[in-house]
């Protein structure tokens, strides 16, 4: 596999900015357009771009398949677990109010945790899908 110089350097240059942008979208999600879904897809896009330029094996070194496949349920666990936290604190399921002293703060914290869970699941799912399809037909 011969690697084009511009592609290789260009990819390496752009990767950190993709991740940075993903994090921006993630943390901006409560106030404006953005959130876990978009950030998750952008993060997965980073891995996929890396895999396209440097090959699947190199991508699996930085994002191992086992990790990616575990990220999918892990994220769901995080955001379903956030709902259970409300339950454990004596309120209804998905009630984030009791997570902090002020219910409004609690809700912000709850949404933050849920978005984090979404980020983990979506980026994991997208990468796992890419791995699964890229391996087909070999």
């Amino acid at each position: 596999m011969s690697l084009d110089l511009i592609l290789r350097i260009g990819t390496k240059l752009i990767l950190p900015f993709i991740l940075l942008f993903a994090l921006y979208v993630q943390f901006h999600g409560e106030y404006g357009p953005g959130g876990g879904f978009q950030a998750g897809v952008i993060t997965a896009g980073m891995v996929i771009l890396f895999a396209i330029t440097f090959g699947l094996r190199a991508a699996k070194r930085i994002a191992p398949q086992a990790l990616v496949e575990r990220m999918v349920p892990l994220g769901v666990l995080i955001f379903a677990g956030t709902g259970v936290l409300g339950l454990l604190l004596g309120h209804n399921y998905l009630d984030y109010g009791p997570l902090a002293h002020d219910p409004a703060h609690g809700r912000v914290l709850g949404i933050f945790l849920v978005e984090a869970g979404v980020l983990v699941t979506v980026s994991g799912t997208m990468t796992a899908l890419f791995y699964a399809f890229a391996e087909r037909g070999r």
Partner: protein
Amino acid sequence: MTTVLPHLPALQVVIPLLGAVLCALLRRPAPAFGLALAVSWLMPVIAAALLWQVIQGGPISYHMGGWAPPWGIEYRVDLLNGFVLLLVAAVGAAIMPFAWHSVGFEIDEGRRAWFYCMYLLCLAGLLGIAITGDAFNAFVFLEISSLSSYVLIALGRDRRALLASFQYLVMGTIGATFYVIGVGFLYLLTGSLNMVDIAQRLGPAWAEHPRAIVAALAFVSAGVGLKLALFPLHVWLPNAYAHAPSWVTVFLSATATKVAIYLLIRFYFSIFGVAIAFDTLPIAQIVIALSIAAMVIASLIAVFESDVKRMLAYSSVAQIGYITLGIGLANQAGLTGGLVHVFNHAVMKAALFLAIGAVFYRAGTVNLAELSGIGRKMPVTLAVFTIAGFGLVGTPGTAGFISKWYLALGALDQGWWVLVLVIVGSSLIAMVYVGRVLEIAWLREPTPAIARASDPPLPMLLPILLLGAATIYFGIDTQWSAGIAEASAQALLGGLR
């Protein structure tokens, strides 16, 4: 106990959901099975507690996230869906021990943990459809259960399982999309997604926009009709049931279509109400005509099937016809018959498919021609198959008789004695296809191919015996099955308003 009790509606759905996630994290078959078993056995306890609360103190309302309805999502348990919840949970719990050997036989080691994950996800979806009081939330749960059941079906060993799953995916998605279009119309008309709230606002809306309500009703009927395999929309069902892994067929036949039927009943009787759906619009005539077609045509097709699983699948389409007949009759006895048949058919079909699953486990085939004399090799299994088969026919003393009795009463109440003849005629056809299997299984000499078959190990045998016993029990003691169905029918015909 007092701290857990108010949160049972949420736990009913959240526990299987978390169980599914943990199964995916465990990734090894044995712990995943243990978890699935624990969750499955916990579910009927919760469902029974809910139903008990409803019987004691009327409908329960649970506000997700503390947001009051109609703005927030409400989980609402009344007699009808308490009954459905208990049915789904109890069937899941009863058949779970069967899964270990059956799934071990039919599914690759690496996929078993995912299998249990998908099963729990499907369970969570089905329980969610039954428990939610929000029309759009029901769509989300419908898709959760459907997507996981596509995966479960595609895990069948035959490559035709893939085709069956794809066919089901296309038709199921069309069905779910139709449903969501119908709900969209209702939302535009009433500005609400809460089922109770929609029901209250539909009456005034009928005066202004009757055409839009008819469109909503049509879309919901067609969409849910696809999911419950109402005749001519049943095409996906025989293939899906025939090629899915044995245990999946048991689970889906006993629960998935039943929950879709619940949704249809909920929309017809609680949301649109008898006044709109039955008094003004010809829903009854349409549903009864399709039901009769299902009862006769699907039964006839079943007679000519050579694959026992496929035969039973067509029989399911016919039996769903009985249930929808009860819905179409829309009177006390008829609706009771339909509801009690939801329960009885789930029990009997689960017993039949379990027995056939055990046959496949031992003999490696479900082709009728290769099963001659199997009854002498697997006497206990086939004895239960015989009992449940008689139940399907509607022999007195089995659960099937009770449902048909109520349906016939309902038909007579409407003065349609021809319907009684159709019910009897369809039962006679059922006798033919059940009789074919029984004749080959009991009366013929065993072939060398099945010489080494014997009754399955105890974890598989116990669920079969349990459901066989239930077929007889609910044919004699009808206090629980028909009693609750009767009370729900009464409440439904009275309407939510």
